[in-house]
Amino acid sequence: MDSIGQGFWDAWGLIISLDPDLYEIIFLSLQVTVSAVIIASVIGLPMGAWLAVNRFWSRRYVIAVLNALMGLPPVVVGLFVYMLLSRAGPLGGFGLLFSPSAMIIAQVIIITPLIASISHQTIRDLWAEYHDLLISMNATRTQRITALLWDGKRALLTATLAGFGRAIGEVGAIMIVGGNIEHATRVLTTAIALETGKGNFAFAMGLGLVLIVLAVIINLLIHIIGKTERASTW
């Protein structure tokens, strides 16, 4: 077995030589995960806020289910989406299986509960603080949710980044619904699984390093754009 160092070196060689295959899978990884995070945030953030400001009898059950769904095994989600999108399944007519769209759908299902749940916790605390103010201003339900989401935006970034983290490192679901097709649905995680299967451990580790560096860059960029985590602000 070649050394871990050798794998990193090989991966680094591919990065600096601008290897088109490597950049293709990096780009697809980002395309799939970023799309999934955006869609899941659009669904999950307001859902979390809505749950925080509304009181209804089944609320605690809904929240318990949401929290439990954070632990949804990706393979099960993959299988579910596969059966949904398969030609033999209910949505088979769209022919979406083995496409990036199928991978995005699976990731949205995996990360929406996570984003909604963290968003709910954050907004609930903020709601306790803002409750009297917003009620006295006679704000409508939509206005309350909007105000809370806006003022909690930095904390909500954590929810989104947690979703990003889970999605970019996910392999079980996208392997099933994407099929790991070269030049079509191969992403970093499925490529790592493939190289491991070939016994090319060092190269697989190298790709893993690329994945981690990519995640760090994305997180840093978001902090820079959002002007958070700077030395001068708390």
């Binding site: 399944g89 083995f98 079509a184 299967g197 070939k198």
Partner: protein, 265 residues
């Protein structure tokens, strides 16, 4: 949500339109791991302008993908299962393309004395007798089915702590065998291409019972009208052509030929 679905559908339609001539084929991990597909696919594209998208899975899953119409054709290696697939009307016909063989690999010091076995059945019997660890694919793949049929022939019910079913693809199973320094059965191509051999070596091969035939089956357009049967036919003609024969027979790894072309032309 409506907008989301619309965007999805539009994006998919655009994505499909950009490479119109593409065909999805489910292939077995053993075929893919051999590296032959990396030689054949660019040639197929150059010769007939067809983009073959491979879904690499075990034979069991490949047949399941064919049954549900999710691929246009399959290339697998488990005759009995293929015939059942055809009998149930999921495929149009079966065309034999090429073969290679299965090999027994195991630890260098060979505690079960496989080097002395004369047949594959004897090899399994000596592994069971010695009680040394044997890693099985355990995933209903073509390789797994072959191994199971050999155990039946050997009159042994493989059970006990020495028999480990990995439930994984060929590469992952070889990784397990390498990690445990255990015996396993692999197709020759995956073995030669495997990068983490550790102390494993090839110990037994050459019994005709270890013959491994690959066959191509187009998915039936009667059952699934959306399958690209014209393209599947074009691919079949190419796979059985002299060009394919030359490439398949000429493919070597470490100087060893891996596959023998045997399509009837």
């Amino acid at each position: 949500m409506k907008l989301f679905w619309k965007t999805l559908i539009v994006a998919t339609v655009l994505a499909t339109a950009s490479h119109a001539e593409s065909l999805r084929m489910a292939v077995t991990t053993s075929f893919y791991n051999s590296g032959l597909s990396e030689i054949l696919l660019p040639e197929i594209r150059a010769d007939i302008g067809l983009d073959v998208e491979l879904i690499v899975v075990g034979t069991g899953q490949a047949l399941a993908l064919g049954k549900s119409g999710d691929v246009d054709a399959i290339l697998v290696h488990a005759r009995a299962a293929e015939e059942a697939f055809l009998a149930a009307g999921y495929g149009t016909h079966r065309r034999e393309i090429m073969y290679n063989d299965f090999v027994f690999v195991g630890p260098d010091d060979d505690p079960a004395n496989l080097g002395r076995a004369e047949t594959a059945v004897q090899a399994l019997q000596s592994i069971a007798r010695a009680g040394v660890v044997f890693v099985s694919r355990g995933d209903d793949s073509g390789t797994n089915k072959k191994e199971q049929s050999l155990w039946v022939e050997a009159g042994i019910e493989p059970e006990g702590v020495w028999y480990r079913a990995a439930g994984a693809g060929m590469g992952a199973t070889l990784n397990v065998a390498s990690g445990m320094n255990a015996y396993t059965v692999s197709d020759r191509a995956s073995w030669l291409n495997f990068g983490n051999k550790g102390e494993l070596v090839l110990l037994f091969a050459g019994d005709p019972a270890l013959f491994n035939q690959y066959a191509y089956i187009p998915v039936s357009p009667t059952r699934w009208p959306h399958v690209k049967s014209d393209l599947a036919m074009q691919l079949e003609n190419w796979l059985a052509s002299d060009r394919a024969k030359e490439l398949i027979n000429g493919y070597t790894l470490n100087g060893e030929p891996l596959f023998t072309f045997n399509a009837t032309q």
